[in-house]
Subunit: 684 residues, 2 copies
């Protein structure tokens, strides 16, 4: 961890490529370091200059005799590899390579990046970047702003990692307006070595950091990221803005950092499963961080709103439902006491409306009352500046209330307010600009606290690896594997067309399917015949299937004969190995309309009992099979153990790339059985 | 229209209740009028004062001998009715009643409001309010700010109506920061007389207004609002922020203005159907208005992005798909020319990345090239301020480009930029703060232009009104009505239990349903038996149904016998009369899982041919019945005419409160027939 520690807490740094030319990165970075008042020693390296910004300059690294905790490289690309060599041979273990022009620019750059990483790994050093914009530590014992944005960030206890330097720069540019405060900032660029996985663990163990925020365009290794949550090792809120959502977004993300982005559905499912907050935009990311940084987490979802104006409170209320929050029912005692304060034409139920005449004293008293009500878990106070009441004293009065519950303020004032508040506020709590903002924040905080309960989860069992050929497993291999995991599979008879003719014994009714290794969707070729009751019909059906296949240029290799079941519902249980997050399981509506119905949910196969329940109940078919309007439902425990066993199967067999039990039939008698199973085997 | 015209274009106004007391509404309103430089005459009325703010004050209205175009009342509630009388008897036809304390406060206030409206109607005057905050006209020949927010709004061609005074005040408070410009603003409060319906028509006919924006908590009469669109009378973009979305939001909306809010699903469906843009928050509302005010409407959905930074462009791209936009494929010629400008390590495909070194000249040239590409319908230019390039000149350079296509800018600068831009920009185009913003705006503009095509729509036919008893129609009445509208209904035999026993002829298989006026969901009581093949089975089934009913305390009054059909799909066609928007039709998945499947779409029954297609194809079952994977689909024209006839039925019969064809069965042979129909009759 020392290498990571020295990124944020160095006592001495060298800047290779420091420059005396204003507006160059080599100059501006040094300027930021100086302006912000770094408490350690600074060693600029530049063979052509003696002094930059009052710092003595060194011709090369060897000249520096003191120990250097952190090396920052800002030289042109052509000199980057040499600089790396120099730093390594001087025993420097923490390196930030700001220089761009590597993997993100094509094959040549990628090779250079690989060479650098080999050197780094060999030396035992750690590297941030390349193609990044540096690091910030705002704590007073360090005061390091090693970026080229010369702002002076205020100290907070949020850590912020940005995969994009530009997003980092945009956030830093806006600090004076946005009031965002953080402890650590790091721009990780191409993540050739150090990634979000390292910082997640580092910050989780750094006592000064309370909240972790990430802007990511890709996960370096999603499975290893979530493994920290599977093992219940993370005990701080983690908020992620994951860009590259849409197909075209992924294209942009790829061209930008050359990283493979996971399907957005998987990202969504997995983050939710492990209690990681996913923000939709930068405002939500930092508003939520402000929430954790400044307020207690609400203990429940009952929110009270106080306002001097109807409209904005309606906008806030509108947002409650979306965030799984509700308007608190105020206790009769609270309502009674509110009536002593609130104007008779105002409202004493939630949202409490003080009308435009509501003054500082009333706002303060009402907020206090609401916080004291046992039916209330959090309060949002909304103030639109009218002519008769000035906002500053009112806002500060509310800020002065102490409570174990969150109390967040929205103010919609004349522009002068903001500067006055920044300059003169004693409390300096965040003020939200939109009525919807605190609702979003409270909802995110509650989501976090609801999901941070430690959970027992499925893990891979110790098993003997199986050896199958790559590709889809044969019917027999599939049967054996499903049987091992107690997944009920329909009995089936696999015969060649020649053998079919000779069958003499069969318990009807059956169904018949044509099999060819090249045909996946049998029903598209009319390759399935149901409810066959006689031998005569069987032969006729076989002929028809053969005709249908040959019409499309295929040949029936084998026929599959299975009992015909009376289908009540068709389900799907499936799974796949995500390139980033590893084994994923799915549950939902099955059958041939599966794509159109689009009624499936998915989760990482590292399932908890709760996860299994969620997986089922968040689908429509999951609600239907529980029994609706006189239907006798399916035994839910059977479905749960089926999902669980499927998850165990893909966890234990790392070679399963995909599997698909579709349809998994629920019969008229509520018996569940797989009618068609496919398993794809290979190396991931 | 003169009464409405004089709200915005008066040459003389009186303020009843003008006051010399600072911070009072009667003072601040006059102060706003004076500060903003109203070009007409001002007559304050206050019996106790001679002069306020240099205006001569009048003891009462009769004293004023000149014609008064607009009367504004700000007296305490107790004097409001007298003031109305005074204005009316002086022949004033345009009145704004700012005073609050009416319908929004309870029964007494409601009665006072009703008395006022009676007087207004009798006199032929028109009234804004009560409980509102006034009116603004920014055009230089009028310059009227008759609100109590003393800001000086800049002139634009957007009109803004706010049902909430506070939302109006919040928007006015923020004008200097937000850069919102408008021509007219009006706060309509309780909408006792003048509502959005009046303003919609007025602004549509006012040549100075190009874009209409509304903040609404309820529609005063939704059917009359949309009637303007049905008749193709509106030819300007209309953007609505409709609050009161959630169940609890509606509660807040109701307590606030005492108005009934329509179900949010209906609002969504209807606004979309008639090409009205629904904004999700105030930012989207005004960003979209800025779009229409400053840029040409994109002619297609292919967007090009130019940036100096990967991250923000990915956030923009992420938003494209959601807005039905795509990343433009640049032409080879454009790419070739881009290569001459863009840094070799940047990107010449879309999004074009100039890297942090991208300067003013490059940005300008690239934006021009992209606009000239025939494959591009609109351009978003994103600039994150780096140390080496200052933003102002770069932004102005881009502003100077002339094109018939929209070119929108996102800038993420140091805070100093904003003030400089406000002060010094020659062009003063809007600058968006978030990469997602212009994408949202372009998407809204395109939605508007796609849907503003004039459409033929269904209208009520002239028919002889039918007389039925209120409540659910009988089986026979239902049959007759469905038959009249060519809606295929399953043949059925309705018999008493006694008659059932005597049946001798029947073509099996049939199904049997128990009927009791008190039982709506038959299947919950096991009141339906399917696939009955013999008389013996029929009697047995009837006995069972009677047992099941009596078990739950019901009696079978009659039995319904219908042919048993082999069901392939179950659909639902239905409709209801919305309290605000009138007749609505629905299409979607039917059967007993209808609530869980939640796969229905709805539209106003004033359908165009396109609407009918949309209604079907936006549901999952609508896609399925078209034929999937080897299925032969249903004839789409049959479904369309079925939906159309259902719409005609509810349009022509104003007494149909609800109707429900569920299930509408598609048989194995793709025949469609209603298996169960219910029609509720009454006065709406």
């Amino acid at each position: 961890m020392t290498s990571l520690y020295n990124l944020f807490y160095p006592h001495s740094i060298c800047i290779v490529g420091a420059s005396s030319k204003q507006k160059s990165i080599g100059y501006e970075l040094l300027n930021s370091i100086k302006r912000y008042g770094f408490t350690g020693e600074v060693f600029p390296v530049n063979p052509k200059v003696d002094v930059i910004l009052d710092y003595k300059c060194y011709e090369n690294i060897k000249e520096i005799t003191k120990t250097i905790d952190l090396g920052i490289i800002v030289v042109p690309k052509a000199f980057a590899e040499d600089s790396i060599d120099d730093l390594i041979s001087n025993g420097i273990k923490s390196i930030i390579l700001i220089t761009a022009g590597f993997r993100e620019t094509g094959v040549e750059g990628e090779l250079a990046e690989k060479r650098i990483i080999e050197k780094i790994k060999k030396s035992g050093a750690r590297l941030v970047g390349p193609n990044c914009m540096g690091v910030i530590n705002t704590f007073s014992d360090i005061k390091l702003n090693a970026t080229f944005v010369a702002e002076k960030p205020a100290t907070g206890h949020t850590a912020f990692l940005s995969q994009s330097g530009a997003i980092g720069a945009a956030v830093l540019n806006s600090l004076r307006e946005s009031g965002i405060k953080f402890g650590h900032f790091i721009s990780v660029g191409n993540k050739a070595d150090i990634s979000e996985n390292d910082l997640l663990r580092f910050w989780n163990n750094d006592d000064r950091i309370n909240t972790l925020t990430f802007y990511l365009e890709s996960f370096s290794n999603g499975e290893s990221f979530i493994n920290n949550f599977i093992e219940n090792n993370i005990n701080k809120p983690v908020i992620i803005l994951k860009a590259g959502k849409s197909a075209s977004g992924i294209k942009a993300a790829t061209s930008h950092t050359g990283a493979l982005a996971s399907s957005d559905k998987v990202v969504n499912a997995v983050l939710e499963q492990f209690g990681i907050i996913r923000a939709n935009d930068l405002n939500e990311l930092f508003n939520t961080a402000k929430g954790f940084e400044n307020y207690p987490i609400p203990r429940g979802n009952r929110i009270a709103i106080v306002t001097n104006a109807g409209g904005p409170s309606i906008l806030a209320v509108d947002k409650l439902e979306e965030g799984n929050l509700v308007l608190a029912e105020l206790s009769p005692e609270t309502i009674k006491r509110l009536k002593e304060i609130v104007h008779p034409e105002g409202s004493c139920t939630n949202p409490v409306d003080l009308l435009p005449g509501g003054n500082a004293e009333q706002f303060k008293s009402v907020n206090k009352l609401l916080l004291e009500d046992d039916n209330v878990d959090g309060v949002v106070s909304i103030f639109v500046e009218p002519v008769m009441v000035s906002p500053f004293e009112l806002v500060e009065g509310i800020n002065s209330i102490k409570s174990g519950k969150p109390l967040m303020q929205v103010v919609m004032p004349l522009p002068e307010f903001w500067e006055k508040y920044r300059q003169e506020s004693v409390f300096n709590y965040p003020i939200f600009r939109n009525p919807e903002d605190p609702v979003e924040v409270l909802s995110n905080m509650l989501f976090y606290s609801d999901s941070k309960v430690k959970k027992e989860r499925l893990r891979p069992d110790k098993t003997i690896p199986k050896k199958y050929n790559c590709g889809y497993l044969s019917q027999q291999e599939t049967d054996v594997l499903l049987n091992e995991y107690n997944i009920p599979n329909i009995p089936s008879l696999l015969v060649t067309p020649e053998e079919l003719i000779k069958i003499t014994e069969l318990s009807f009714p059956v169904c018949l399917k044509g099999i060819s290794p090249n045909v996946i969707h049998k029903s598209e070729l009319n390759g399935v015949k149901l409810n066959i009751s006689t031998f005569e019909e069987l032969l006729k059906s076989a002929n028809e299937i053969e005709r249908n296949f040959s019409f499309k240029g295929f040949t029936v290799e084998k026929f599959l004969i299975q009992p015909f079941l009376k289908v009540k519902h068709e389900l799907l249980v499936g799974g796949f190995r995500d390139p980033s997050f590893g084994p994923i399981v799915m549950f939902g509506s099955g059958g041939k309309y599966v794509e159109i119905l689009n009624d499936t949910s998915m989760k990482s196969a590292y399932l908890s009992e709760n996860d299994i329940e969620d997986l089922i109940s968040t689908t429509k078919v999951g609600q239907i099979i529980k029994g609706v309007r006189g239907d006798k439902g399916v035994n839910l425990n059977i479905i749960k153990s089926l999902v669980k066993n499927s998850a165990r199967m893909i966890l234990n067999n790392k070679e399963i790339l995909e599997f698909d039990l579709n349809p998994l039939i629920v019969t008229d008698d509520n018996i569940m059985i797989t009618a068609d199973a496919r398993i794809k085997w290979g190396r991931s």
